[in-house]
Amino acid sequence: MSDLAIQVKGLSKRFRIGKQDRYPTIRESLMRAAAVPLRAIRFWAAAQNTASADWIWALRDLDLEVKQGEVLGIVGRNGAGKSTFLKVLSGITEPTAGHADIYGRIGSLLEVGTGFHMELTGRENIFMNGALLGMRRHEIRRKFDEIVGFAETEKFIDTPVKHYSSGMYLRLAFAVAAHLDPEILIVDEVLAVGDIQFQRKCLGKMQEVSKSLGRTVLFVSHNMDAIQRLCSKCLLLENGELAAHGETSAVLAEYVSNDGRKAIANEWIDVSGTHRTGTGEVRFVAVQYSSLNESVAFQACSSGPLEFRLAIVSDSSRTIESLAVSILDASGKRLVNADTVLIGRSIQLCTGRNLVRLRIDKLHLNPGGYGVALWLANPRTARSARSVYDYVEFAFEMDVVPAVSEQFKLSPSAAVTCDFNLVDVTWQDEAEQESRQAVEMRETGPRTAL
């Protein structure tokens, strides 16, 4: 009991969705209040009303314990309840049922820039943000030099942060939070921003906090690599429920395999309800993939061709510059990107449902499980983020099977083949052998075609 940092019992959080999309006005509330006696008379109407109210459980019946000094990774898809869980723990929002006991001071590593004021100087913002995170003035003063040093902003410390470069801004924000000294540190996807060097620095700092200071860290990230490196234990949330909790590698494996809805080749996969970002003016509704090879049940083959059939619904007739199908590995790393912008082909879409076929001539991938991402955008004509129409980060998961050589009925070793040519063979003197280049292998990159 004494070495516990967090104990969660039956924790649940319910949200109202749909109707909460816009802010109610006082008039509406008054009308609703006035309608109460009316509804009481018409009993069935009231019953109907409660039934139609959309409630979702952001967290449902969570039970878990976190030991002191543990670095716990939290993974799950968007909307699985990760952020809600952290918000409940830090007291920002109240659970609907159950409880979480926190043993020690809790501190959050804020999304970079929260609580910063553009008109104030770096120095003022450090104190301001420190106080926001629950640090005392003398505590901040003691760590002030260290914070400024970590952020590498000594020269500009008395300049309003609105004149900072985004990099400086970021470093300063992280530095304040990193020097906060809580017993339990909450880190919610803060590493998504910043350059690689900065990310490495942040990871190093977090490692230091947990290892040498013995702090408990809760770490939410989509970066599997970072989770694997930092966390000893991991928990997987799915639709607000605890799907797995244990050793990081085991949980991550489960997340990766469970997360995908493994799709059957040559059959339509409905992606209309899949989580996505973008304006939605043009959107993917269904996808089909096929290796065009009946002998392997149309499954994707290593080194074989792979065709995607994409059903796209558009609001209006328009030209799309960039339609891309990407193939990702288990950790979400993009391995193959077949983007029409790369071959300079734009696509003409009509209002309504369109069908696009896209073929990868040779799939240079080892056998295994892969994720597929879909993308629709006009990156050239519009510069803002609004130019992304549809981005399905994870549409479905597919298996790539070993290539079957038609002639030898035998698959080569588990290496990816590549496109190559035998240029020529010439005979050379022994004297000339020093500069020999008898056979030149020319490799070309993966080719894609529409």
Binding site: I92, T93, E94, E111, T114, G115, E124, F127, G134, E183
Partner: protein, 287 residues
Amino acid sequence: MQSSSHSTSEAMRAVGRPFARRQARPGWVAIDFAELWQYRELLVFYAIRDIKVRYKQTLLGAAWAILQPVLTMVVFSIFFGRLAGVPSDDVPYPIFAFCALLPWQLFAYALTQSSNSLVENRQMLTKVYFPRLIVPLASVLAGLVDFAIACVVLVGMTLYYDIVPGWGMLTLPFFTLLALAAALAVGLWLSALNVKYRDVRYAIPFLAQFWLFITPVAYSSTLVPDKWQILYGVNPMVGVVDGFRWALLGKTPPGPMLVVSMVATVLLLAGGLFFFRRMEKSLADII
């Protein structure tokens, strides 16, 4: 906090008791003054931030704090004092009006700022925990700086009109506090309502204007018939303005109206605190 709370939490761990428990609270909750005290530095920082940021990138800067009441006084003096001939209790109309404008501007500013404070800081409120009461409280306190600057003008005016305030002047802090309490009381109600109903944002300028007319700023409260005086006092600013005029000009001492104003303020403030606490629970979910 860190050293003391560390040892407390260690002690609590030893007896196996939780340091903090997150769970659903019943509808009405008391104010956690201890927690508020813990975060007092944040309150100060917020107020300082509001003050520092207020006149950043303005041409006239803090001169705005003088211009606003002075110009209002000039307009009032011309139209109400000179043209309409509103009686001003036998003191020159300009200083009669300015004595009232001083607390009025403090009240109006504090009320407006605190009512919008939660919505304006929503990014922070959904990302980090701290007692939410800090936010409207800091907005109210930030108004004191403008008030202090405008007070300088008042000193100049008393010298010009050769008015020597009596001992009653010592009660000014009390009336200032009453104005702040009234502004906070209304600000708590409105800021919490504003989270749910954005109508409040548009209602505030109208409310402030309306309130100005039911407060004896441009006229004397003695104009109100005796039988309505008690009801009139329900507006806390009636007590405040009468108090200011009495403390500075020493004419009519505030009567039973002041008691009514004080009671009204206390009730409004207590109600506001509880209403605010109730809304606080769901604040992060709906803001």
